[in-house]
Point group: C2
Chain length 198, copies 2
């Protein structure tokens, strides 16, 4: 006996979620079967409405609702500081800290020398134009501390060094609450070289 | 800055999936934002159609599509053997082995002495009626080898012992491909007491 065709269709659709394979999709599907009709409809209609309800700001690339982009509102934000982030999700993480009041530029990805991914798809033209137009003084590279993040930071440094802006990158060091026992040598070494007066 | 309301709605809806918390739901939601419109629509419409496309057979409780229940078709299945399983999902697992050609009865759960869950919601009336009407000769308890499974097996044994049927339970022993090094003492002890001639 095989699974009913509609259940297979549901499982296939759920397998598109990140990290969800056959077994997890099956588990999700059988749970969904137990949901009341209203709950099913809520998820279905929320999914359908995504293209209408959520869009990316054409200027900074941030994810916004059906309203003008609050992160591009220069009466609220300081245009002299611009943070470059890889993805729309990173904006929420960084802005959630409440310590940055500048503006953002979503790059749309990272260079990946290993995977052979170059600058295609990255919003570089808009970046240069915005830096020039907005009178940005400091560009903060808020990128992952991975090989791809490092490659992208190096690339952006070369791209932007001819412009009259200060370039900075997020600090590397011990994560808060971390114990020496669990910190790798690379992190420790960067924390040492970036030490500050106590 | 907060997440757009529609994104929050999507995250909340996704959190209903088993094992999916805030962080995973966020990861799912941001991935879903990248999906093309058609893919969104496919998942949305599949979810909406679940109540129309999938139902449980009123006789055996198995999950079926829009067709008569193939597992209750006595021209294809042997009604002298009836397997009692806890959930609709278990039917697919057991039937997928291809070694059982009898009929099923989905109980709809297990007793749980620890959680104080009794027989409420279990399809016991239908079970007794089916055993009497179909001329079942053997009832196979195809239940988990857990505390709840054991409690349910014991309960069913007492419930059904007055009927003229043979009661059996799935064998306990070494899982195929297992090494002695990784088998617990309880399993080994059951495998020993259930040994057969080599």
């Amino acid at each position: 006996m095989h699974l009913p065709p509609h259940l297979l269709k549901l499982i296939t659709a759920l397998k598109g979620l990140p990290g969800v394979g056959e077994k997890t999709a099956e588990r999700f599907a059988f749970q969904i079967l137990k949901w009341p009709k209203e709950r099913l409809q809520t998820l279905a209609s929320t999914l359908s409405a995504v293209p209408d309800e959520l869009r990316h700001c054409s200027v900074c690339g941030c994810l916004i609702g059906n309203t003008p982009c609050g992160l591009c509102d220069l009466s609220q934000r300081d245009p002299t500081q611009l943070a470059i982030v890889a993805s729309d999700k990173d904006v929420f993480v960084l802005d959630g800290t409440g310590t940055f009041r500048g503006i953002y530029h979503v790059l749309g990805g990272l260079l990946s020398p290993i995977d052979g991914k170059g600058t295609e798809g990255l919003r570089l033209e808009q970046l240069r134009r915005r830096i020039a137009e907005l009178g940005v003084k400091e560009v903060i590279l808020a990128l992952d501390s991975t090989l791809d993040g490092d490659a992208t930071a190096l690339f952006l440094k070369r791209e932007l060094e001819s412009l009259d802006v200060t370039l900075s990158r997020l600090a590397f060091g011990l994560p808060l609450g971390s114990s020496f026992d669990y910190v790798d040598a690379g992190t420790l070494s960067r924390a040492l070289s970036g030490r500050s007066r106590a």
